[in-house]
């Protein structure tokens, strides 16, 4: 890992308050190395953004965390609030969810033919115990569960700002609302960690601002740690406490947003060595801004990176 320039600040000290600790994670598909010795720590209560060019392995990382893929090497540990430590490697997807990891999808995957409320209810009900016999007999326990999930779903719909749209079909909601609904559904499973896979993809600038607010709310009010994959650098820089950068399946940098912006390896990954040299060596006073623009794709100089960053990862 010669490319790792900035290591996570104080990795050793941070382990105790880490919710998720990933170490030496390697995922291969035949000869293709998708993730290579990835080290990543999500501290309790923080927002960590994972960025990287297309094909860097960000979504593969998410899929490994949630049990969709089973990496060949490495470890993923989850430290629960109750003090237990669980290994997430190779666990079934729904078990991972029960342990406290909820996720959203890059390409929205709602239950399109159900109403918005029903979508959230399904997730809210997964922890309940009432079985088919109790439901068929209409036992009080089952009825109480039904009322509870209903109330919780209503609350969450209010929380994400969809209170007026509970009875609409999930598929008839606008794109931004569908993203919110997916977040509400993930929150309904009562997670400790929320994994957001490009929540801002395909949303307009206003929706992006609202989304940034929502993510901060989830983090501060509900005390949920957030792991965020995002291409929109403005969003990343405005919400993330720390940023980890992946390129070709490797962690190339990790640190606060401003640190990462100034990191040569990161800028090179986005712009190529030549452009990076130009941008970074422009002047010491300007570096942060210029590299920030390069990575964020906001200003004119960063158009190339912007084009890369703005694209949907396949």
């Amino acid at each position: 890992m010669s490319t790792t320039v900035t290591k996570t600040a104080g990795v050793g000290g941070a382990v105790s308050d880490a919710v998720i600790a990933v170490s030496g994670l390697t995922l291969r598909f035949g000869g293709l190395v998708c993730l290579s010795e990835v080290e990543l720590t999500l501290r309790r209560g923080e927002i960590l953004a994972v960025i990287g060019p297309n094909g860097a392995g960000k979504t593969s990382l998410f899929n490994s965390l949630t049990g969709v893929y089973v990496p060949q090497e490495g470890s993923i540990t989850l430290n629960s609030v109750d003090g237990n430590t669980h290994s997430l490697l190779g666990r079934k997807t729904h078990v991972v969810n029960r342990l406290g990891l909820a996720r959203t999808f890059q390409n929205i995957r709602l239950f399109a033919a159900l109403t918005a409320l029903e979508n959230v209810k399904i997730a809210a009900e997964t922890r309940q115990k009432s079985g088919p016999v109790g439901i068929m007999l209409g036992l009080p326990h089952a009825r109480r569960n039904e009322r509870e999930s209903d109330r919780r779903a209503h609350e969450l719909m209010e929380f994400v700002g969809l209170g007026g749209k509970i009875n609409e079909l999930a598929s008839s909601l606008s794109y931004g609302d569908q993203r919110r609904l997916e977040i509400a559904r993930a929150l309904a499973t009562d997670p400790q960690v929320l994994l957001l896979d490009e929540p801002a993809a395909g949303t307009n600038p206003t929706e992006k601002l609202e989304l940034a607010d929502l993510i901060k709310h989830i983090n501060r009010e509900l005390g949920i740690s957030v792991l965020l994959i995002e291409h929109d650098m403005r969003l990343v820089m405005s919400v993330a406490d720390r940023v980890t950068v992946l390129n070709f399946g490797k962690v190339i940098a990790s640190g606060t947003p401003s640190e990462v912006q100034r990191n040569r390896a990161v800028v090179e990954a986005y712009l190529g060595a030549e452009m990076a040299a130009e941008v970074l060596d422009a002047g010491p006073s300007d570096t942060g801004v210029a590299a920030g623009a390069g990575v964020a794709g906001g200003a004119d100089e960063g158009k190339a990176a912007g084009a890369v960053g703005g694209e949907e990862e396949r």
């Binding site: 979504t59 998410f62 899929n63 949630t66 969709v68 893929y69 079934k92 997807t93 729904h94 969810n97 029960r98 909820a102 996720r103 999808f105 890059q106 390409n107 995957r109 709602l110 239950f111 399109a112 033919a113 159900l114 029903e118 209810k121 399904i122 997730a123 009900e125 997964t126 922890r127 309940q128 009432s130 079985g131 088919p132 439901i135 068929m136 007999l137 209409g138 089952a142 569960n145 039904e146 999930s149 079909l169 598929s171 559904r185 993930a186 309904a188 499973t189 896979d197």
Partner: protein, 461 residues
């Protein structure tokens, strides 16, 4: 009455007119002639189909018979030409009225569902239907009573069970009759009608919970290793399971009595001490019994549909990956659907065995499995009322057709009806609301109408 005048399509210049004429093509190249040819061809085919039965010694017998006596052929062609002429030329005159009626109906908000949801309509309607169903056998002849119980009612029970598996959980089960057979053979075993002696002899009522349990376990046994398979593969496995059960029934002679089947299965009996009621040879009694079971099942299954279990099934059907990612234990819920469906089938099996007093492997052939699936799809997967009405209709139809067509041809008409139905109304007779939405969305490329295929977005997130 729009203020905007429609564009005059007449070409302005001579050249433009010539080009337009070229583009238009000759009169005989118009689509309507192709449609006419198609309909005439259909008329010929239908006439041959509806004509006299073929003969194996003379391959062309049926064809010859049709053309030697061309009256029916002419009638068929005339009817088809009439249909064509109306569709091409007459429909334009009728359509405005049709649209008007449709618009009025929607405007008044008087869709069937809304009317029946009204309390003032719902209760009297429910009571009326119940009274009609209870009184039904009194209005029919013994023959039709036999049909009503042996064909219609038993299959309705089966369809209610299969609807849980196929309609709600979206798992294609082609071997559903296997559980029916297990239920029936359980009844035979526990009432002592098989060559092997049971530990205790039970009455049919007491057999029901035992059979339910047996089928439940059989459902779990089949489900546990196979439910991680998707769609088509699962269908093949269930098909194999059916064959296994069928062949065991046929060949394990020391247990099942082989092809000779089991005889002398006793009828139901309700002995309350002060009051003893026996079910005998009268099909009416069994009709009421099945009606009671069906009513209870409909009642509890409706609760199930609108509960966390029903919603979890829908979630799995629509997007298994998303469901699992939100904590739904997909395997558990699929197994649950399998077990509940199998148990219902077991109840039907016990009643069937007890009513017929005789079962043999030939009562549980693969065709029955396929027919139940067809009934469920015809009625509307996932909609209890649709499945019940659809099954009742399709199970009754071949019996009724006997009076009009060659009995050997009956299922051909059933097949044709299914083909037409699936083309023009794939959601079924009385579609479930969720299913209907899914079909519409699947057409637009969003989501999936069942858990049988890979989701549109691919398996991974």
């Amino acid at each position: 009455m729009s203020a905007v005048k429609t564009l005059d399509r007449q070409p302005v210049t001579e050249t433009a007119r010539r080009i337009a004429a070229l583009r238009k093509g000759k009169w005989y190249q118009q689509q309507r002639w192709a449609r006419l040819m198609g309909l005439v061809f259909a008329a010929v085919v239908l006439d041959v189909m509806a004509g006299p039965q073929g003969s194996s010694s003379d391959v062309f017998f049926a064809l010859e018979a049709v053309y030697k006596e061309p009256t029916s052929l002419i009638v068929w062609i005339a009817v088809m030409v009439g249909v064509w002429a109306f569709a091409e030329f007459g429909w334009g005159y009728v359509k405005p009225y049709f649209d008007w009626t449709k618009a009025k109906a929607t405007e008044a908000g008087s869709s069937v569902r809304q009317v029946t949801a009204d309390r003032r309509v719902k209760w009297p309607l429910g009571v009326g239907v119940a009274v009609l169903l209870i009184a039904l056998p009194e209005m029919l002849s013994t023959y039709w009573n036999q049909v009503l119980v042996g064909e219609v009612a038993v299959y309705v029970l089966l369809a209610i069970g299969l609807n849980v598996v196929v309609g709600w959980a979206g798992l294609l089960d082609l071997g559903f009759i296997a559980f029916f057979a297990i239920g029936a053979y359980s009844a035979a075993y526990w009432t002592g009608a098989l060559p092997v002696e049971p530990p205790v002899e039970l009455t049919p009522f007491l057999v029901i919970p035992v059979a339910v349990l047996t089928c439940l376990i059989a459902g779990l046994l089949l489900g546990a290793p196979t439910l991680r398979l998707r769609g088509d593969y699962l269908a093949i496995v269930t098909l194999g399971f059916h064959e296994i059960i069928y062949l065991i029934a046929k060949n394990k002679e020391d247990f099942t009595n082989g092809p000779r089947g089991a005889t002398g299965i006793p009828g139901f009996e309700l002995d309350l001490g002060f009051w003893d009621y026996k079910w005998g040879l009268d099909p009416k009694q069994y009709w009421w019994l099945i009606l009671a079971f069906a009513a209870v099942l409909v009642f509890v299954f409706r609760r199930l549909e609108h509960s966390r279990v029903g919603r979890a099934w829908t979630a799995i059907r629509e997007d298994e990956v998303a469901a699992a990612a939100n904590g739904v234990d997909t395997v558990k819920f699929k197994l649950m659907a399998f077990a509940i469906g199998a148990s219902t089938s077991g109840i039907a099996g016990v009643i069937y065995a007890s009513k017929q007093q005789f079962i043999s492997p030939e009562s549980f052939i693969l065709l029955s499995s396929v027919l139940v699936i067809a009934y469920v799809i015809f009625g509307g997967m996932g909609s209890l009322w649709g499945v019940i009405v659809g099954t009742a209709f399709l199970a009754w139809l071949p019996q009724r057709l006997k009076e009009f067509v060659d009995p050997k041809d009956r299922y051909m008409y059933l097949g044709a009806l299914l083909v037409v139905m699936m083309i023009y109304r794939p959601q079924g007779l009385i579609p479930s609301r969720r299913r209907k939405r899914e079909l519409t969305l699947a057409k637009q490329g969003i989501g999936d109408a069942d858990a049988m295929t890979e989701p549109v977005g691919g398996r991974m997130g």
